[in-house]
Structure formats: C-alpha cells, structure tokens
Amino acid sequence: MPLNQALVGKEYPPVRYEVGREKLREFAVALGETDPIYHEEEAARAAGHPDLPAVPTFPIVLSFRAGQVVYGDPALGLDYSRVVHGEQEFVYHRPIHAGDRLLAAGKVAAVEAKGRHELLTLQTEVTTEAGEPVCTVRATLLSRGTAAPREAAG
C-alpha cells in the first residue's frame, strides 16, 4: 500500500536525549575509532572540547529514536520490513558533547514514488533543550514495492 502523502510536512513530538560519556565511548568503539579525544576527558579538553565530543555520525542515534515515533504512526502506512536505507545526510550547527541535553523532533519531509518503490525522507531536527540548533539529520528510505500501480498503458 502506498505511503500517505498527506503526512508530508507533519512534525512529531520530540524525544529527549541526554548525551552520556559512556554512550559516546561505546559508539566510538563500535566504529573502531581510537582517537583519545573520544575516550579520555583530558585529551578532549586539551583539544579544546568542553567534554568528550561525539563522532560525526552519532546523531543517527537521536534520529533513529525520533524516527521510531514517525514510523510508528499507523497513518503513515510504513512497513519497516520493506525499508532499505537509501541516503543519509547530516548538517552540523554545533558540536555534540557529553552532558548535552537534547531534543530530537522527526518530520516527514518528503514522500515520492520512484518506479515501483517510494522514497521517504525523514528529517530530524536536533536542538538543545533551549532550542539552539545542533544538527539536521536527513534519512532517505526506500520503501520497496509500495508505489501505487500505474494505469496500464492503453
């Protein structure tokens, strides 16, 4: 069944996320990142960071949580088992550090048919609790085989 076009532009309530040092270390380890600035507070401070910094793709953790709110909306009609990750973009407004208290709000940015498939773009705005922009995360997902069938050519 096709995705619900009427939801394009819909913004969902934000999820809260408190950035912990151990989570940042765990995420860095999972990617094989051994630079001490991601693991040792002294190394991070010596490099000018107020605390341990996040690796660049860390906001995906927040986007994933915000996405669960969006994908879980029955009105959208998304079958997650048909989904393949097509493209990913991060636009950084401010670095993320341990101790940050953030909000991540998901939005259906676009739904478009591409042959038999559909492309769904989830945009997540990550901000501080005070509303300062931190990161804009765009995930383009391919929903396989859900486009409305075209009229048979006469």
Partner: protein, 136 residues
C-alpha cells in the same frame, strides 16, 4: 593528539589517508547495541535470507561511520565537519573488508570540500557520492 588541519596546506586532488575495516559479525552486533538499530537483518541469517538477502549485511550507518572516521581524522577535529552526506549503493557482508577513500575537491579559504566513497574488496561502491563540507 589530534589537531585541526591547516587549510592552507590542503590542495584539490589531495588524497586522504584511507581507512579500512574487515567486518566481523561481532562488529555488527556491537554497532547494533551502540546505535540502537537492532534490525535482525544485521545479525540473524535466517531473517536476512527470508527477506531475500544472502545473509546478514552491515548497517549502512556502520559503513558511513567508518568513512566519517577518515574525514574527521584527516580534519583533526570532529567540530570541523559541517556537513556529511552519502548514498548507500551496495551491501557488504561480514568477512569482507570495507575501505574508505577520499579526495579534496575544493579549497576556499577555511572551507574545504572532500568527496569520498567506500568500497569492498572487489571495488564495488558500498557508499557513493560521499561529500563532506569542512570548516578548518
């Protein structure tokens, strides 16, 4: 200790030091736990085969994370990365080696654009159209 790269030394065409990772199933399980993405196609062969895959495949975001290591490592500071984008163009399975490769495309004052991709051992592009905007 990492230090932010001097943009005055960057030249279009400069190759970034490559980053390579041989992917083990354990890496995907670890990444699932760290990221919160527990989709079973990344750790359960039965589920992966049931949806038409050859077996478990790496998370696209695992591959992007390895490529981002190359970018931030070369920049010398994760705070220098202003924008990062990729297209996921092929899957990669455990047992294969992922290699991230990048090149400086533009230098304009402090602003540097890097184009990059990541490939498997056969040269198939796992990540394509990679672009990173840096503020050095």
């Amino acid at each position: 200790m990492s230090q932010r790269r001097d943009p005055g030394q960057a030249r279009p065409g400069e190759q970034l030091p490559q980053v390579a990772e041989t992917i083990e199933r354990l890496d995907l399980i670890r990444y699932a736990g760290a990221s919160g993405d527990f989709n079973p196609i990344h750790w359960n062969d039965e589920v992966a085969r049931a949806v038409g895959l050859p077996g478990v495949i790496a998370h696209g975001m695992y591959s992007m994370g390895v490529a981002a290591r190359m970018i931030a490592g070369w920049a010398g500071d994760p705070g220098a990365v202003r924008r990062l984008r990729v297209r996921f163009s092929a899957m990669i399975e455990p047992g294969q080696t992922l290699t991230a490769k990048g090149e400086v495309a533009e230098v304009d004052g402090n602003r540097v654009v890097v184009r990059f991709h990541a490939e498997d051992e056969k040269g198939n592009k796992v990540l394509s159209k990679g672009e990173a905007d840096l503020d050095l």
